[in-house]
């Protein structure tokens, strides 16, 4: 009698098994994502919140030692809003980003279209060149360009002089910030072309050729075929590479900082460098944080569309 009663406890009945399986299959996905949530939450999301909180504090060297900031509300934001240097920095960052993104996209689009036209051998050659450039670390590329634009023995000054562009002997490109930033745009665009070109080329291969042929038969010229047929099909890819380029170029730090030997003058400050200077240079972490918050806000606005598109794609899949 007693055996009969305790039997369900010793041997789990079908109901209990099903319940355990239900629990397992319901908790399993959460267990699978929990390490990622912990890492991303702890090391990206939490610092993002902390950044906003810091931007509302006075946090200098004394506060750093005491691990305790002093609440100042929006004072940091008030001081950067009236700071003329900050206005220059914002304008410079936007112009720099615009120049880099436009040049990258135009050149990469032309190059990806060219890749469709060349014969196989040439395509392999160009692709290998792109992969080599892509694989070059940013710091390495900055060192190379620094050497190529060296005022005394740089190969660029020699070439430009030989090609009769002008007399560039002992021309220091970084004396004039407009020229210096021009060189930096070149460095950034050179480094960005491989990723964008290869992505666009992959997209171009997906464009069905019968649609292009149909447009051809209907009398569309090459430009019309690109603008009215290819470009709309590639729109999502264009959107993604534009947004990613904007994020990378607006937050540019390494190229400028290393190119100017870790001592950029204020003529070269972009928003990331300015934020870095305010926090680690003059130990005003609160002020630096408020500049970084402005940077994040600008990027969130710019990239909102990218996130929306990507999430749409993810939900369909």
């Amino acid at each position: 009698m007693g055996v009969a009663v305790s039997a369900p406890d010793l041997e789990p009945g079908p109901l209990m098994l099903r319940r355990r399986a239900w629990l397992r299959s319901n908790l399993l996905p959460y267990a699978l994502i929990s390490p990622s949530v912990a890492v991303i939450g702890g090391i990206l999301a939490f610092p993002l919140g902390m950044l906003v909180w810091l931007s509302l504090q006075h946090y200098g060297l004394r506060e750093l030692i005491a691990h305790q900031g002093r609440w100042v509300g929006l004072d940091n934001y008030r001081s950067i809003v009236v700071d003329p240097l900050f206005h220059q920095v914002i304008v410079r960052s936007l112009l720099f980003t615009f120049a880099c993104v436009v040049l990258t996209l135009v050149l990469s689009t032309l190059l990806s279209l060219l890749l469709l036209k060349v014969r196989r051998v040439v395509r392999v050659l160009v692709m290998s060149a792109l992969v080599f450039v892509w694989a070059t670390p940013v710091i390495v590329s900055v060192d190379i360009w620094q050497w190529m634009f060296d005022y005394e023995f740089g190969v660029m000054n020699y070439l430009l002089t030989q090609l009769h562009v002008g007399n560039f002997i002992h021309h220091n490109w970084f004396d004039n910030p407009v020229q210096g930033l021009g060189v930096l745009v070149l460095v950034v665009v050179w480094g960005a072309i491989p990723f964008v070109t290869i992505t666009l080329f992959a997209g171009l291969l997906q464009v069905p050729s019968d649609v292009i042929d149909a447009a051809h038969v209907d009398g569309a010229d090459a430009w019309q075929r690109f603008w009215f047929v290819t470009a709309p099909i590639l729109k999502p890819i264009f959107l993604i590479v534009t947004c990613l380029s904007t994020i990378w170029d607006f937050g540019v730090f390494n190229q400028i900082y290393v190119m100017l030997n870790a001592r950029p003058s204020s003529d070269y400050f972009t928003i990331a460098i300015y934020s870095y200077r305010e926090s680690f240079g003059v130990t005003q972490y609160g002020l630096g944080a408020s500049i970084a918050v402005v940077m994040v806000i600008v990027l969130v606005v710019v990239t909102f569309f990218y996130v929306r598109e990507t999430v749409k794609v993810a939900e369909i899949a």
Partner: protein, 301 residues
């Protein structure tokens, strides 16, 4: 003999004109093709020139580097620059640090990202969309913006100027992209493959490890390449967090490669070549694994 104006003559004339037009068209098309190919070669040369210039400079003796008329080929060839670069203080320590950081970070990242990829690709659950939005959303925040709080956070737990702190930051930086990419790879492997293995007597876990796991190989390789490049090339986080020279990474070592007399271009270019070499090698060796389509046709319909 065919008199001009007769039917046969007209026909012949037409054929001749047609052939002529064909030759012209062919010539036009061939010269157009030649123009495209030449442009392609020129672009490849332009893109590669900076890299060539780095390697060429690295192999030149000092007097050829500092020449007002540049020498296009390293004709007296020397390895002295490489010896100088390696002999510079902290090179070996910093190589070791870079290798440790990248290896530990990649091992952790691949494991964690793979779990999350399976979780989101194979299961529907409440909060899945929120998780995916978070994965995409955090990629929008540049790491540059988070340096201040990351520094303060790691400072309060004593992990500034220590490798674990940098490993943790890199892990978080590459994880969103890795999860997203791997999720695509896992989702592309048909569930039917696993199910048929289970019908054939595999357990669920067995089916997963025998069928799905090997097929995700290319995806793991692709994300590993991405993570490797990101971590190996990263500069600013390592620069801010790692202050003592014995704890720094190779990029920080390279960026600080100047003396009081300005940069020594020969050793600097040799150091740059050495820093870039592993990345290029990684790219080229593993590129063939990136070829997809392994599962194409495994399940019909």
């Amino acid at each position: 003999m065919i008199a001009p104006g007769t039917a046969q003559g007209v026909q012949l004339g037409r054929a001749r004109a047609e052939a002529q037009a064909n030759v012209e068209l062919n010539l036009w098309q061939r010269s157009k093709q030649l123009l495209f190919d030449a442009t392609g070669v020129a672009v490849a040369a332009l893109m590669l020139f900076p890299i060539y210039w780095m390697v060429a400079t690295a192999f030149k003796p000092g007097r050829d580097i500092l020449a007002l008329t540049p020498k296009w080929f390293p004709s007296p060839f020397t390895l002295q620059n490489f010896r100088d670069a390696i002999a510079r203080p902290f090179f070996l320590e910093d190589v070791r640090n870079s290798v440790i950081i990248v290896a530990v970070m990649l091992a952790l990242a691949l494991a964690i990202a793979f779990l999350a990829a399976v979780g989101t690709a194979r299961f529907g659950f409440k909060g899945r969309t929120a998780f995916l939005v978070m994965i995409i959303g955090v990629q929008m925040v540049p790491l540059n913006a988070l340096i201040i709080p990351l520094y303060l956070m790691l400072d309060s737990v004593g992990q500034v100027d220590a490798l674990p702190g940098v490993i943790a930051v890199y892990l978080a930086a590459v994880l969103p992209f890795m999860v997203w990419t791997l999720r695509g790879f896992v989702a592309n492997i048909p569930v039917e493959l696993e199910e048929s293995a289970m019908i054939d007597g595999c357990t669920r876990v067995g089916a997963f490890f025998r069928i799905t796991f090997p097929l995700v190989g290319p995806g793991l390789v692709a994300t590993a390449i991405f993570g490797f490049i990101q971590a190996w090339n990263e500069y600013i986080i390592a620069y801010v967090l790692l202050s003592s020279p014995t704890n720094q990474t190779l990029t920080v070592w390279l960026a600080s490669f100047t003396t009081n007399h300005g940069p020594e271009w020969g050793p600097l270019m040799a150091g740059a070549t050495l820093t870039g070499l592993p990345v290029v090698a990684f790219f080229l060796v593993l590129q063939r694994y990136l070829a997809g389509g392994l599962t194409a046709g495994a399940v019909k319909g």
